[in-house]
């Protein structure tokens, strides 16, 4: 059902037709269409890996499509460079704003276009006036003389948008703009976007916050697995229908026998960190697999890192196997029985330029120590061989550079590393991110196997359907608190309900977790 246009009068500002794009090992876009009117706010939604990023990258000139047409304002556009995209009126507002923070607001606006007098000297009062004037035209009131450090995040985002408009952007891509903004600022931002919409600026609004899509978008395009699922008018949708389209079908539910034992392995009591999470209580049994999901900024990412001692944990008590868990750093965490798989594989997960063997044994090297700090290579190789086999890591040799493996195999290497530390608790952060479908099944098999062996596992992920397939319980975090709990096999445990919970719906009925 391709419901398209409400107002036939408004011209198309962007028409993308039948866009195909393949990367090694994964087909990112399969014949996707995307259209945008001037003055439209168009949401672009879908799970991670659905193709949103790729589509936008092509529009910005960072990638070239394998096939398909792009027309901007009616003109056919061949392969674009980023510079050409900007000239054509495409602007991108990243999640983390990219401004010059030691300079003033006014200077940020007028950088490269400062007003000068006849002799070429800068007249600051005139410049600040001009900056204010431009902002006022957009209905924005900021202190142009204050340094960037003095204005709020929301104001910085609005500033970036303003700058884009001053550079004659006709089409602005907003990438998760509300991720770190408090509620009142979000309203302000939306007001600003609305006023720009009246002036004919078009927006592509990428977000995981379904609530916001309903609040601000006119139409929404849903992608899934590189396919275009639907393009709808927001007015004709409900939250439920939309989440259903996004979620699609669940992956095959593993007939996983519950291998939990009754003793709690991990106990978290009243964990609080100012600005991130509050009063977190968890009790996880041996062999239990618990999923925790939430929007960006809900605090769950920081919670994971905090437990692993990569960041400040805050106050509150944590116990593993009945003993106080007080790591000062990741090494302590490993020793005391907790391991963590980071979301960002390349920066935190692997030392890319080193070998597979080395990456697997880093935390447990001390087991192979001989006198004088030397390493017993044979024992080490044995361990590595064992894990390569049991996890099914595809690599030409132990000494292959880790970076050269496929995404899925890289992830398996990290799993091997963590498993080798024989953890009681394993925290996984988006374990299947950036991995193709076949490898994902492998990863879940590994997770399953680890659970059977008695490891308690926490999976932090926004891939709700994946969580449903593998977890015994799923917790939802919203604005720093655990608000819902969904049990496996329960009627209420559906993608749609969980998605709604993540959005903060039914907050009043929040179930606190013991």
């Amino acid at each position: 059902m391709k419901t398209n246009n409400l107002n036939n009068k408004k011209p198309f500002i962007l028409q993308m037709k039948s866009i195909y794009k393949t990367f090694p090992g994964v087909q990112a876009l399969r014949g996707v269409d995307f259209n945008l009117y001037s003055g439209e706010i168009h949401g672009l939604v879908g799970k991670n890996g659905a193709g949103k990023t790729t589509l936008v990258a092509i529009l910005m000139g960072l990638q070239a499509p394998d096939a398909g047409d792009i027309k901007i304002e009616g003109h056919q556009v061949k392969v674009m460079t980023p510079g050409e995209a900007i000239k054509a009126g495409v602007a991108y507002v990243p999640q983390r704003v990219d401004l010059m923070d030691s300079l003033t607001v006014g200077e940020n606006i007028l950088a490269g276009q400062l007003l000068k007098d006849k002799l070429g000297f800068i007249n600051w009062p005139d410049n600040y006036h001009e900056a204010e004037r431009r902002l006022k035209k957009l209905g924005l009131h900021l202190n142009v003389r204050s340094r960037l450090e003095g204005i709020s995040m929301a104001e910085q985002t609005m500033l970036v948008i303003a700058k884009a408009i001053f550079s004659n952007a006709k089409l602005i891509i907003l990438d998760e703009p509300t991720a770190s903004l408090p509620r009142k600022d979000i309203e302000r931002l939306f007001g600003f976007i609305h006023s720009l919409k009246e002036k004919g600026v078009a927006f592509i609004y990428i977000s995981h916050h379904i609530e916001e899509v309903f609040e601000i978008c006119d139409r929404v395009t849903i992608l899934r697995d590189g396919n275009l699922v639907d393009v709808c008018n927001v007015s004709e949708l409900t939250m439920g229908k939309l989440t259903a389209k996004i979620a699609g079908e669940n992956i095959k539910e593993n007939e996983r026998k519950s291998t939990q034992e009754d003793k709690p392995v991990l106990n978290v009591n009243g964990l609080t960190r100012r600005g991130f999470y509050e009063d977190i209580n968890l009790s996880i049994k041996k062999g239990e697999i618990v999923g925790i999901s939430g929007l960006q900024g809900c605090g769950v990412e920081t919670l994971g890192k905090g437990l692993f001692a990569m960041e400040n944990r805050g106050i509150g008590e944590v116990e593993i196997n009945g003993k106080p868990f007080l790591p000062r750093n990741p090494r302590d965490a490993f020793t005391q029985g907790l391991a963590y798989l980071p979301q960002d594989r390349y920066h935190f997960g692997l030392v890319g330029s080193r070998t597979v063997k080395e990456n697997i044994t880093y935390p447990v090297l001390k087991r192979f120590l001989m006198p004088f700090g030397l390493i017993k290579n044979s024992d080490e190789s044995d361990l590595v061989a064992e894990y390569i086999e049991s996890l099914g890591i595809v690599t030409p040799s132990h000494n292959q550079t880790a970076l050269l493996l496929s995404g899925g195999n890289q992830q398996k290497v990290i799993f091997a590393k963590l498993a080798a530390t024989r953890p009681s608790v394993l925290i996984l952060h988006e374990p299947t991110q950036g991995i193709d479908v076949r490898a994902k099944q492998d990863i879940y098999r590994i997770i399953d196997e680890l659970g059977t062996q008695g490891v308690s596992i926490i999976i932090i992920s926004i891939e709700i359907h994946e969580l449903i397939g593998v977890c015994d319980r799923i917790l939802v975090m919203y604005e720093g608190r655990i608000t819902h709990e969904f049990l496996k096999g329960d009627n209420k445990t559906t993608s749609e309900n969980i998605l709604l919970a993540i959005e903060g719906e039914n907050n009043r009925n929040a179930i606190k977790q013991k």
């Binding site: 010059m100 030691s102 490269g112 000297f121 450090e149 770190s180 100012r274 991130f276 509050e278 106050i315």
Partner: protein, 357 residues
């Protein structure tokens, strides 16, 4: 709001730290030596460090864009030696050409700027790490000085050449003696003023800050960062040549060691003067304060007849101190931003112990 006032106070403190330190230094030295706070002594402060002051200008320009030019001290010696060779008679270490000052000075400035061009191209076109490249140039140039005038110093320059470095503008009678106000002091103050105007009121100056603050954002705004960086290196080379002129004019000699070991003082003075290591921050007035501080410390320690070798040690320590300050300033500003974001959220508010980062 209480937070805001304290924050503004601290920020003002950090920005003007140099003037506070200068005040403290003046007080300390006046107490330690009664000869310090006399007009004869005070008048001497700037000429001693005028050449360093020029280098500070050049170094600040590059640092504002987020780069370093550690070769400038050798550039000083290099240009000074070129001038010396062209000016002095053969008995006095020169080539015996005895060219007129009006020809030699432009040649010096050109030579210094050329070194800047080479530095700039290596950093922008070949994208070599700027720290290493300028240190390599530091050593290469020092070698070149030896090559063009092996082990010999050139002296006895014409008065017209020495005027800038050691000349007097006017003399004033005071307590029965004549106090001379040096040309170099006025010159260096004017140069700082010009530098200040450029950085504050010229587009080029603002672009320097933009590039240093966030190179990507600057490029996105249409600023050609490579051109800016190349230009500041040329300016740094030009300033080094001026410094060469000042110092060889003041000493009436150009030796193979002219300018040697200056780089630490220049760095320290710039950093204490508020020019941050990370780029995009600091102003020329503060940098001038750095020069003044250096002059004060130098004259003060000399008056107290401190062993010059100890002075070197102290300079090294001061540099370390300067970096510490800068590091803390940057971290403080960063934590301010973090706390600003934290104060907006309500999460964790109920707990009595408010944990700030």
């Amino acid at each position: 709001m209480k937070n805001n006032l304290l924050h503004k106070l601290l920020l003002a403190l950090f920005d003007n730290l140099i003037w506070i330190i200068i005040a403290v230094a003046i007080i300390i030295f006046s107490l330690l030596s009664d000869k310090f706070f006399t007009i004869f002594n005070l008048v001497n402060i700037i000429p001693r460090v005028a050449a360093i002051g020029l280098l500070i200008i050049g170094q600040s320009f590059t640092m504002i864009t987020g780069n370093f030019d550690l070769s400038s001290e050798s550039n000083v010696g290099f240009t000074a030696m070129i001038a010396g060779l062209l000016l002095a008679t053969s008995e006095n270490g020169g080539l015996g050409l005895m060219w007129p000052t009006a020809v030699v000075i432009p040649i010096m400035l050109l030579a210094g700027s050329l070194v800047g061009v080479i530095n700039g191209l290596l950093v922008t076109k070949l994208k070599v790490n700027n720290l290493i490249v300028t240190i390599a140039m530091l050593m290469i140039l020092r070698g070149v000085i030896y090559i063009i005038n092996p082990g010999v110093s050139a002296t006895k320059f014409p008065g017209s050449y020495n005027w800038l470095g050691s000349g007097t503008l006017f003399k004033i009678p005071y307590e029965g003696k004549l106090v001379s106000f040096p040309v170099s002091a006025l010159f260096v103050l004017i140069t700082f003023l010009v530098a200040f105007v450029i950085t504050r009121y010229r587009e080029f100056g603002r672009n320097m800050y933009a590039v240093g603050a966030n190179r990507n954002a600057a490029e996105a705004a249409g600023i050609q960062s490579n051109k800016i960086i190349l230009t500041v290196y040329i300016i740094s080379g030009f300033c080094a040549a001026l410094a060469g002129l000042l110092t060889s004019g003041r000493m009436d000699t150009a030796t193979p060691r002219t300018g040697a070991d200056w780089i630490f003082q220049v760095q320290a003075a710039s950093i204490i003067g508020g020019i941050s290591l990370i780029g995009g921050r600091g102003n020329m007035i503060g940098a001038m304060g750095g020069m003044l501080l250096w002059g004060i410390i130098d004259t003060g320690l000399n008056l107290m007849m401190v062993d010059p070798l100890l002075i070197d040690l102290l300079r090294g320590l001061l540099l370390l101190f300067a970096i510490l300050l800068d590091t803390y300033k940057v971290r403080y500003l960063h934590s301010l931003a973090v706390n600003e974001a934290l104060s907006d959220t309500k999460i964790g508010l109920k707990h009595k112990k408010l944990i700030y980062e």
